[in-house]
Point group: C2
Chain length 226, copies 2
């Protein structure tokens, strides 16, 4: 089942790429440049594609995100510190981001005659991102089957939809994912800041999984009280 993996260069999607590769199905990595403050993540997606020996395409949708609204990920709003929680993290939401990226991914999969699109949506994101929930995944799959009926039959593979980020760290550890070559921090400095929502979540996930965290952080204590 030839598979295109949506890979941002973050921990979840790089682990997904390694998992699909281990399952013998990896054909393609796709990243989006949506006008991120920094491109560090994209470099790590590129590294994963080289390590796994598959083509990597970066599609620039920054003009879309500029039009579609401001977000702490793309504009000058300060990145909130602290644990992922609805109030502070709503500023990191670009509305309808997953449906837009997935419809483009399905078009690319159709062009490449691939059978599956894989996305690293996971249970930890359900609370704040409705487009990461299992009901959404099922509805999206059904919509695409009808939209491409007679053209391509492409499935959506979201094996982490019921998993916590700690579960993903465990899977990645078994697959020898080079975690130090994945990027989570929203701030894009030299090292992970250790304080933003996604750093706190990352630190917590390694802790809960009982796996040594090879990441270099500026602050390794903040997450314990966030």
């Amino acid at each position: 089942m030839s598979t295109l993996v949506l890979c941002s260069g973050g921990l979840d999607s790089v682990t997904l790429a390694y998992k699909v590769h281990a399952e013998g199905n990896l054909s393609y990595l796709l990243s989006f440049d949506y006008g991120q403050r920094h491109k560090k993540e994209l470099n790590f997606a590129e590294k994963a594609s080289s390590a796994l020996g598959v083509p990597h395409e970066i599609i620039d949708i920054s003009n879309l995100t500029k039009i579609l609204g401001s977000s702490a990920l793309t504009d000058s709003t300060p990145v909130p510190d602290g644990h992922y929680a609805e109030q502070s993290m709503m500023t990191t939401v670009v509305p309808n981001r997953n449906p837009i990226m997935l419809t483009i991914a399905f078009a690319l999969a159709a062009r490449e005659n691939l059978q599956t699109v894989a996305a690293a949506v996971h249970a930890g994101d359900h609370f704040i991102y409705p487009d990461c929930r299992p009901e959404f995944v099922d509805a999206f799959k059904e919509m695409q089957l009808l939209a491409l009926d007679g053209v391509s039959k492409i499935d959506l593979y979201a094996p982490f939809v019921g998993s916590s980020k700690a579960d993903i760290v465990s899977v990645g550890s078994e697959l020898d994912v080079p975690f130090q070559e994945t990027w989570s921090c929203y701030k894009g400095l030299e090292r992970h800041c250790g304080r933003c929502g996604t750093c706190v979540e990352r630190l917590e996930a390694f802790h809960l999984a009982g796996i040594d965290d090879p990441t270099s952080y500026d602050d390794t204590e903040f997450w314990k009280t966030a």
Copy 2:
């Protein structure tokens, strides 16, 4: 019900804009520049927005269509003459075009706090475009309700999904749509060519509806035998 209408400047979507306006719900027109051979259609969308007194946004997705595959609408493949029919017209299909444009439209509607996105998909397109069928419309609506749950509740309005193009001409005639200020022809010359699939369909629709066609064509006879 504040509504964003996807409006290419063609006969169907301009008629839809007039219909939504007559229903008291028109708030916004959205067009896509997807690298069309010509921009004549977009000028007519702009005219409709001025006539109806609503804002008009054109979102450039030409880099996407360039990446996602070639099509007679966007590249140098010759535009086929003749009646809309599966074989010749498959060259006018950009894969997954409607899902991509609709997910972007829903994001814009979310940004603008609008309640509805309206699209002029119609029964005449079912045969060749799976993403114009009623099953697709229903599945897309459901997907978006889940994707934006807790963020926005936006409906998809597709009143022509069961209508022929002749039905749309009848609706437009009752609403006094200035049909001469809509553009269908794929070729984008001075006048409508009268020979390409969409010109043939347009000529036939006026004939079937029994409505005088104010369009100026280079060839007014070809469609009768196409």
